[in-house]
Amino acid sequence: MTALTDTSHSPRRPPWGWLGVSFIAWIAAYASLVPFADAAIALLGLTRQTHLGEAVHFFFYDTPKVLLLLTGIVFLMGVVHTFVSPERTRALLSGKRLGVGNVMAASLGVITPFCSCSAVPLFIGFLSAGVPLGVTFSFLISAPMVNEVALALLFGLFGWKVAGLYLALGLTVAITAGLVIGKLGMERHLEDWVRAMQASQSADYVGEEMHWAGRIDAGVAHVRDIVGKVWPWVLAGIGVGAVIHGYVPQDFMASIMGKDAPWWSLPAAVLIGVPMYSNAAGILPVVEALIGKGAALGTVLAFMMSVIALSLPEMIILRKVLKLPLIATFAGVVALGILIVGYVFNAVL
């Protein structure tokens, strides 16, 4: 860390000591998850042999684990966000061609700070600075779907392989869908006032000067904002998951959502997911419990992707800037991509 402490112009010394102590405390807490859950059910006079004991153990093990992972990853992303503002991403993507542009846009979508409430201003901002329509879509699909909360939770609940696969396949959907939309030449389906703004501005970017103290503050603020917002969802989700875990019989889901389920179970899961709107934090613990009961990973992840990436409220906001054929194409292409990802997941795993 000594290499990073070169902040001679900094108005304030970065709190490295505080950060180090937090890091050690985090590791210690993560290492004692199982003893903690064991102690918690022992204290309640339960054993894991009963339904109730198993459900309670699941709750006391998963809750701190997910919250710890979430805090760690969200903090890191808060720091990363200070390096990539939307303005900087836009400057990088301006004038890029389809292909390379889509790959860059989808990747930047993962690390650029993004709030679904500014999706539309961002969309117009990109177009007005000469970012092609297809490239803009790659960014808009990847940013909400492949986000740090989803990745942190997948990592916590299923391990790094599943998180990595989700990342790779999510990027593939975003890149391909953006390419397809770009190739279709759908610019005429933008609302007229948006079309008039295309490539009307320069993408010049002037970054605010920032020091490590400020970056760490941003990480802490991000944790307060995100974890502060999603923790009730996580608790509720794990609560539902715990009930399913303890009480629903093994292989209950296998016939409906399992590998040997009829072919239409996957499209049905995606279709059900589209109008639903939740965030990764709310849906994932339920996903974990479903998989524990024999549902196929691909089907469940496809369901999750469609819940996060496509939603009715988002379509209604997008209607202000896109005409119906373009919204329909967007939803159709993304849903198709998710479907293919689901089949691939089921075939590979």
Partner: protein, 76 residues
């Protein structure tokens, strides 16, 4: 008198920004004309991409997220 516009499509962060600016202006006893701009076309004219954005006398001074109290105080 300063004309301050908060640009945003109506999310919670935009409300918080508006309230913060109002608080600071009152605390400092500065008279301001505070406006909330929700119309997308109006927001885009200022070139702000990440909301909430803050415009003072026609100049964008902040974009993306609720500004810190210290930053708001520096405007007055």
């Amino acid at each position: 008198m300063k004309n301050i516009k908060v640009l945003g499509t109506g999310c919670a962060n935009c409300q918080n920004t508006l309230k913060l600016i109002d608080d600071v202006a009152r605390a400092k006893g500065v008279a301001v004309q505070l406006e909330k701009i929700e119309d997308l076309q109006q927001i885009m004219i200022h070139g702000v991409m990440s909301t909430p954005g803050v415009v003072i006398n026609g100049k964008v001074v902040h974009a993306g997220g609720v500004p810190t109290r210290a930053k708001v105080e520096s405007w007055f």
